[in-house]
């Protein structure tokens, strides 16, 4: 054929070739690649979504834990305070009770002492009386009247009471 010539059939065959090639490339190359790229995009998108939701979840949990932790700290502080207060109260009560007991026993002891003292005084009185009687007997012998005798006894008791 001539170097530059026009042949309708060659043009038509070129078109047929191009159309065949178009479908072949679409089927074998563009469709699978585009599909794969779209799939990858979806995958990446869903991964991002997952990561974001995971992060949100983590942040939420962190917030919750922080709150719980602070609550627990508060609770602990409150319990400590309560316990301290209770212990203090109890201690005070114990001290108070002890003081009461002590004062009661002191009172009791004082009463005892008083009674003992009274006993002792009455005993001494008896003793003194008997001594006085014997003294009086001796004094009577030396002629001492009744009046003198009574006065002497009173004086004696008083002086011995003061002595005590």
């Amino acid at each position: 054929m001539e170097f530059v010539s026009i042949d309708t059939w060659t043009i038509i065959f070129t078109w047929i070739n191009l159309i065949i090639l178009m479908f072949v490339m679409k089927k074998l190359l563009f469709k699978p690649v585009m599909k794969m790229l779209a799939e990858r995009e979806n995958e990446v998108g869903s991964m991002y979504e997952k990561a974001e939701s995971a992060q949100q979840n983590a942040e939420k949990l962190e917030g919750e834990y922080t709150q719980k932790l602070s609550e627990a700290k508060e609770e602990a502080a409150r319990i400590m305070k309560d316990a301290t207060d209770a212990a203090n109260k109890k201690g005070e009560q114990i001290v108070f009770e002890a003081q009461q007991k002590a004062s009661a026993s002191i009172l009791k002891a004082q009463k005892e002492i008083e009674r003992e003292k009274l006993n002792a005084v009455s005993e001494i009185k008896k003793d003194i009386a008997s001594i006085a009687v014997s003294v009086a007997e001796k004094v009577i012998e030396k002629d001492i009247n009744e009046k003198d005798y009574e006065r002497l006894v009173e004086e004696f008791i008083e002086s011995s009471g003061e002595e005590k």
Binding site: M1, W9, T10, L18, M22, L28, P32
Partner: protein
């Protein structure tokens, strides 16, 4: 004395045989080599488009992805999102043009070195442009478009409309065909030079030693570079013209 070097003969595609129907269908080198190109591209696509995975892509897959996304980005930039369905055609056009031209490297006749092939490319673009213009403007709107902006420019508008596909076809054809012509001229010239240099040596002198190697370097420009460039130009022009005829409708 050596026999004279045969002058370079540059002929059109050879006719292998003729199917005697419809006034004789010539099965030329162009058609046969075109089938070869289609077969090669189909095979390559078959191997490239297999076993794609969304994770851990192989090197082959990375290259394929890059190629496809480059082409689709280019298409989106030049034609807009509404014309993405042209992707397979533009891909086919680019691959067919480039591989046809590169076929010249193997010694076979490049199908794009035949004017009919490039006219085929250009006519498709031409028909697409007219189709989309009629579709978008209506038949009378399309006719009216030729008399714009002023009535007396109508002949010029028609000429420029027809000149587009012709210039596309001849540009592509001329680049590849000139490569064929220049290559045969270079072989002729190298044969003459090597005869001058070593022609006096009895046996070795008859071997055109300079023809080894040197044409390879030149063919890097005339075949490889031009093949890529012309495939790019024809795809780009098709995209720009057709995209211009089918622009996104403003809402």
């Amino acid at each position: 004395m050596n026999a004279p070097i045969p002058a370079p003969q540059v002929s059109g595609p050879q006719i292998f045989f003729t199917i005697p129907i419809l006034g004789g269908i010539h099965i030329t080198e162009t058609i046969v080599n075109g089938w070869l190109v289609v077969a090669i591209i189909s095979l390559v696509c078959f191997f490239l488009g297999r076993n794609l995975s969304t994770r851990n892509p192989s090197r082959r897959q990375i290259a394929v992805e890059k190629l496809v996304s480059m082409l689709s980005n280019l298409l989106q930039e030049t034609m807009g999102k509404n014309n993405m369905f042209f992707l397979p055609y533009i891909g086919a056009l680019f691959a067919y043009s480039m591989l046809s031209s590169l076929l010249g490297l193997t010694g076979l006749r490049a199908p794009t070195g035949d004017l009919n092939t490039t006219i085929g490319f250009a006519l498709i673009a031409f028909f697409l442009i007219q189709f989309f213009n009629i579709k978008n403007k209506g038949f009378f709107g399309w006719l009216k478009g030729f008399s714009e902006p002023v009535f007396f420019l109508t002949p010029l508008n028609i000429i420029s409309e027809i000149a587009n596909p012709i210039s596309m076809a001849f540009r592509h054809f001329g680049n590849i065909a000139s490569g064929i012509v220049i290559t045969s001229l270079i072989y002729y010239a190298l044969a003459s030079v090597s005869r001058l240099l070593i022609g006096w040596i009895p046996v070795i002198g008859s071997i055109p030693i300079l023809q080894v190697g040197i044409p390879a370097f030149l063919s890097i420009y005339f075949d490889v570079f031009t093949s890529f460039l012309q495939a790019y130009i024809i795809s780009m022009l098709t995209m720009v013209y057709v995209g211009g005829a089918n622009e996104a409708q403003s809402e």
